[in-house]
């Protein structure tokens, strides 16, 4: 035995615990010498009684049969796939002996400190999120100001001298250049940072571990990317990325270290597991919403609606705290930036302005009008999603190389500039300059002196400012032709833009489209009746239209109502906004899913919705589960474990641990569950029974060792096990979860589903009457069922 330890040649790359750690292998294995019985993966296969012989054959010779049948092994990407690269988060606590020991050691005081540090972390999350929002806001304002001033000067020069096509080229080139930079960092460095990030955060909060979604690198790419895409004049907003940024910050801050920067502050070590991290991520998302819209309550409700399946009062209160701090921080720093320190009136990135004038009041007879507008918004939103769906499929299939993605983004930016320029050039809608100079970059072009081009105020500005001017400019600022043209072009531009490899949100474009046609509605209403000009204030209808369009596209309900209410600062608008969003959702859902759900689906993410698909009660765990299950013995041979983990075709993460009751012929019974990550840590620290015997001094493996490896456990390939060590044994008793959740074979799908949703399970063992493992249910097994056009359908698993 001593021989073995001499020959140990560990190349534990991640292990920097020092020479002492190397010399004294960690030992938890019990000394008792048990008959070591090797179970090869073949022998641990549990075939289920119900299997027919045909099925058995197929199990064994899958490859041959496939080729024989000519069944396509590769199919084009579509929405009915589940990707293998996504894994579940471990929300369930692993109550192994180490955990119990640690809990015993911790004093009451320590638990109180934990609670306090949770609050501290939430405060930090809010503060940092607010700072980032502030940074984005200021950068966008400065850079966009620079760009627009440059182009404006150029246009003014060339309007007189001739050569406006050069201005057009300059505008397009500036746009493309900015977007190129933004797209390169996204496409080449961190593709997960593309888009608004809300679908990804939704998945994360749902319990899906999206690779690299909460890394520091993602945050940097996201923030820089969004600045460049907004400055690049794309039809995008900076609100969605803000939510993602908040979530990344939360995930980073709560761990007290950065794996990317290799910096460990040695704080908050207790929170280094999925359960705690996910709670903080929901706080971060809330803080992001709150900073983006100045809507702290809306942020909390966003987390509640979109994400957290796991929720309690204290968590809500903490999340609210983070939200408030975030909006306050943004407010405070923006007031300093605007040289009015202490004036806390800039609560969000987007400020809808105040709707308080008398014309902004609404009357009972306007409610049906609002509802009709909601229906229009739902229809338009569904159309938007439909177009974007096909575009996204095309992009996934054909535009998947990074350089192509960058070129595409640049082209979109150039076309944006071109379309805007054409519309501005041919627009004959001239309006006198307002006394308050609300237009930041008024373009005169061919208008009379002292007037400006009304089309230019919508296009020649950052989208946020355009939204605000649509809401608040006095009646008569835009004529209906301008608004109609703007709505149509911006609709298609925004639809085309969403899904590009740039970091960008869809909130603001939706609001802008809606505000434009809403204002158009208001103007038309006012023109139909002579007295209508008294009540049909276009700004009010612009707001309702914006709500309808946004609701029609993203289909959020409660949180969106509150966000809009808080952003307008007017509680009396609660009722119309709610009605509008309701109608928009009902009408939109009739045709097409919401944009975020669509993208989650297209991303092949195993997303669990709130309820099991209807009419699925007849499905039992027996049909749902994966089987046969690769099990491990309680005292297992190292070689077997390494082989099991190294098997690339089966990338399992949880292994039921079984124990032999008596004799060799009796099937083994379930006694626990162990995760891949735990096994890897055990292998890395060589916790072998034989080594334990040869050592006098033993350092017991602690929970801390598992936490230190979290969240990036090394792959099995990086752990080398010599031939001698392969013959050693490992005792899993102390580390496995001794009480995994189990269900009998006849449990219905909705019951299993509920367990997963409510407890946040990752593995659910299906056992027979004698507590023998017959199958394992994971997230992917459940997520593959969904209600399609022809009733219950099943998604296919694919490697992506």
């Amino acid at each position: 035995m001593a021989n073995i330890t001499k020959k140990v040649s560990w190349s534990s790359r991640g292990d920097e615990s020092g020479a002492a750690g190397e010399e004294t292998p960690l030992l938890n294995g019990s000394e008792q010498s048990r008959p070591l019985r090797q179970m090869s993966s073949g022998s641990t296969v549990f075939q289920i009684g119900r299997l027919s012989t045909v099925d058995l054959e197929e199990e064994i010779t899958t490859e041959e049969q496939d080729s024989a049948r000519g069944r396509p092994k590769e199919i084009p990407h579509n929405e009915k796939l589940l990707s293998l690269k996504f894994e579940s988060l471990d929300y369930d606590n692993i109550e192994n002996q180490l955990f119990l020991e640690e809990e015993r050691r911790m004093s009451f005081m320590a638990f109180r400190c934990l609670e306090i540090s949770r609050w501290v972390i939430c405060g930090l999350i809010g503060f940092l999120t607010g700072l980032i929002a502030c940074f984005i806001d200021i950068m966008v304002e400065q850079l966009a100001g620079l760009k627009y001033r440059l182009i404006k000067e150029n246009i003014v020069k060339f309007t007189e001298a001739g050569g406006l096509s050069i201005s057009l080229l300059l505008w397009a080139a500036l746009n493309s250049f900015c977007v190129m930079f933004g797209a390169i960092i996204v496409a080449f460095f961190e593709p997960i940072a593309a888009g608004s990030g809300i679908p990804q955060i939704k998945c994360f909060l749902n319990g899906v571990k999206i690779p690299r979604v909460v890394r520091l690198k993602t945050l940097v790419v996201k923030v820089v990317g969004v600045i460049f895409s907004v400055v690049g004049g794309l039809a995008v907003g900076k609100e969605g990325p803000m939510i993602h940024s908040g979530a990344v910050l939360a995930a980073g801050v709560s761990q007290g270290r950065s794996t990317s920067l290799k910096k460990d502050f040695k704080i908050f070590e207790y929170f280094r597991r999925d359960t705690e991290k996910r709670d903080f991520v929901s706080a971060g998302a809330a803080a992001g919403v709150s900073a983006a819209f100045g809507a702290p309550v809306g942020g909390v409700l966003f987390s509640l609606e979109e994400g957290a399946s796991f929720w309690n009062q204290m968590l809500t209160w903490r999340i609210f705290f983070a939200s408030m701090i975030s909006t306050f921080t943004l407010n405070f720093f923006l007031s300093i930036y605007e040289n009015k320190p202490g004036d806390l009136s800039n609560p969000g990135l987007i400020n809808f302005g105040r709707f308080e004038s008398e014309a902004m009041e609404y009357n009972l007879y306007e409610i049906p009008l609002f509802i009709a507008m909601g229906a229009i918004g739902g229809g338009l939103g569904a159309f938007f999603n439909f177009l974007n769906y096909w575009l996204t499929i095309f992009r996934i299939r054909y535009v998947h190389r990074p350089c192509l993605q960058v070129i595409e983004a640049m082209l979109v930016a150039a076309v944006n500039a071109t379309v805007a320029f054409i519309l501005i050039y041919f627009s004959t809608d001239c309006q006198p300059l307002g006394p308050d100079q609300s237009e930041e970059y008024p373009l005169q072009l061919f208008c009379a002196d002292g007037e400006f081009n009304a089309m230019a105020t919508t296009f020649f500005n950052t989208p946020e400012k355009s939204v605000r001017s649509l809401f608040h400019n006095p009646t008569g600022t835009y004529n209906s032709l301008t608004l109609g043209l703007f709505t149509v072009t911006y609709f298609f531009l925004a639809c085309w833009t969403y899904g590009l490899a740039v970091s960008a949100g869809v909130f603001i474009p939706s609001l802008l489209i809606g505000a434009a046609w809403g204002r158009l509605c208001g103007i038309l209403l006012a023109s139909t009746t002579s007295t209508a000009s008294m009540w049909a204030d276009p700004g009010k209808y612009a707001l309702i239209g914006a709500a309808a369009q946004l609701g029609g596209i993203v289909r959020m309900t409660l949180s969106l109502t509150v966000i809009m209410m808080e952003a307008t600062g007017n509680v009396t608008y609660g009722l119309p906004i709610m009605l509008v969003l309701m109608t928009a959702k009902i009408v939109g859902d009739y045709f097409q899913e919401g944009l975020y759900d669509l993208h989650i689906k297209l991303g092949s993410v195993p997303f669990l919705h709130g309820e099991a698909p209807a009419t699925s009660h007849w499905l039992t765990a027996r049909e749902v589960m994966s089987s046969p299950v690769t099990c491990l013995n309680r005292i297992e041979k190292v070689g077997t474990i390494v082989d099991t983990l190294s098997n690339t075709s089966t990338n399992h993460n949880g292994f039921p641990v079984v124990v032999q009751v008596s004799g060799d012929d009796e099937p083994a019974k379930l006694c626990g569950l162990i995760l891949r990550s735990q096994l890897i840590v055990l292998l890395k620290h060589k916790v072998f029974v034989e080594l334990a015997r040869s050592r006098l001094t033993q350092r017991k493996l602690q929970l801390k060792d598992f936490r230190d490896a979290y969240p990036r456990f090394p792959p099995i390939q990086s752990i080398h096990v010599s031939q001698d060590e392969r013959e050693c044994m490992m005792d899993l008793t102390e580390f496995m979860n001794p009480t995994p959740y189990t269900v009998p074979q006849d449990t219905s799908l909705p019951r299993v589903f509920k367990l997963f949703r409510a407890l946040g399970l990752r593995h659910l063992v299906v056992v027979d009457d004698d507590n023998r493992v017959v199958g394992l249910v994971t997230r992917k097994d459940l997520a593959r069922y969904h209600v399609g056009k022809h009733g219950l359908e099943e998604l296919l698993l694919a490697q992506t």
């Binding site: 001739g162 996934i396 535009v399 082209l411 049909e623 490697q799």
Partner: protein
């Protein structure tokens, strides 16, 4: 109350204080009041050089019955002579200022014509509203401005003051509100040049006008834009510029023509064509991304979808 209580029931004596610096030759209303037996009150910094005079004045003389009614109040509530005088002065100047404003409404000449009027009016109001005590330890602020619900004097002055503030005249006149400042004068010269030019070429073809007056107009326009940025504009200048611009753009139609339609369309159709090429080429040349299907281990066969449908039917 600090009303003086001696000389009850007898002749009312007003202590008037002359201030030498006050009566301004330029001040039209002031010279009006100089014809009166009454003199303008002054601020109390000149109190040491005060000359006391005692003009006779009966409040009931030129009042109607209403004032008679008022006069029946007990003496200590009565309005002092000093304050009555102030009030009268305020009225005079008020009327003068309004008389000046109304004709200056169109075309707007508010700042050029009426600045002195505002100056003298605000002077009186300052006297009324100052909390410093007058001669005989009196302050008219409370008795004139705050004694009743209506607060008429305050309202009257407030409305004119709003007009003044809105007109932004302060930017265009000298600090003592006597006349236009240098910037304004320069602007007016340019304006006159432009208008003269317009007059000269008004007859006949406007293209001639557009060509010949362009320099003058452009100079004026640039000056105006510069002043706009410094916010040294007042309503007079804004209005005159507006009229000039209207003449230039609408009447004489000298705006820039939309000439380059063809190059703009050419460039933009090229730009719009690029994405079509891009998508076509990526569709034709880029290999389609395929997904490798994985066959999950199942207790039942893979074709469980078929089973689903079997079971459902």
């Amino acid at each position: 109350m600090s009303l003086h209580r001696y000389n009850l029931g007898l002749l009312l004596i007003i202590l008037n204080i002359y201030s030498l610096g006050l009566i301004d030759a330029l001040n039209a209303t002031a010279s009006d009041s100089a014809a009166n037996p009454l003199q303008a009150p002054s601020d109390h910094s000149h109190g040491s050089s005060a000359v006391v005079s005692s003009p006779v004045y009966k409040p009931a003389v030129d009042s109607s019955y209403w004032i008679n009614l008022l006069s029946s109040f007990p003496d200590d509530l009565e309005f002092s002579e000093y304050c009555t005088e102030l009030l009268r002065l305020f009225g005079q100047r008020y009327v003068a200022f309004v008389n000046c404003l109304v004709p200056a409404a169109r075309p707007v000449r508010v700042c050029q014509n009426c600045s002195p009027g505002y100056s003298s009016l605000s002077e009186v109001f300052l006297n009324i509203s100052s909390d410093k005590l007058g001669p005989a330890n009196e302050s008219c602020r409370d008795s004139i401005l705050r004694s009743d619900r209506l607060m008429l004097v305050f309202l009257l002055y407030g409305s004119l003051d709003t007009i003044w503030k809105k007109s932004n005249c302060k930017q265009c006149v000298t600090t003592d509100l006597t006349g236009p400042n240098n910037d304004t004068l320069y602007y007016l010269t340019l304006l006159n040049q432009t208008i003269t030019c317009f007059e000269k070429y008004k007859e006949g073809n406007h293209t001639e006008l557009c060509k010949n007056c362009k320099n003058a107009y452009k100079g004026l326009n640039d000056l105006y834009s510069g002043m706009e940025k410094n916010s040294t504009l007042c309503i007079d200048l804004e209005d005159s510029m507006n009229m000039t611009r209207k003449l230039w753009s609408k009447n004489f139609a000298c705006s820039l023509p939309r000439e380059e339609t063809i190059p703009v369309i050419a460039v933009s159709s090229f730009m719009l064509f690029l994405p079509i090429i891009f998508y076509l080429s990526s569709f034709l040349h880029s290999e389609q991304k395929k997904r490798k299907l994985i066959h999950p281990k199942r207790a039942k066969s893979h074709t469980s979808l078929m089973n689903i449908q079997d079971k459902q039917s």
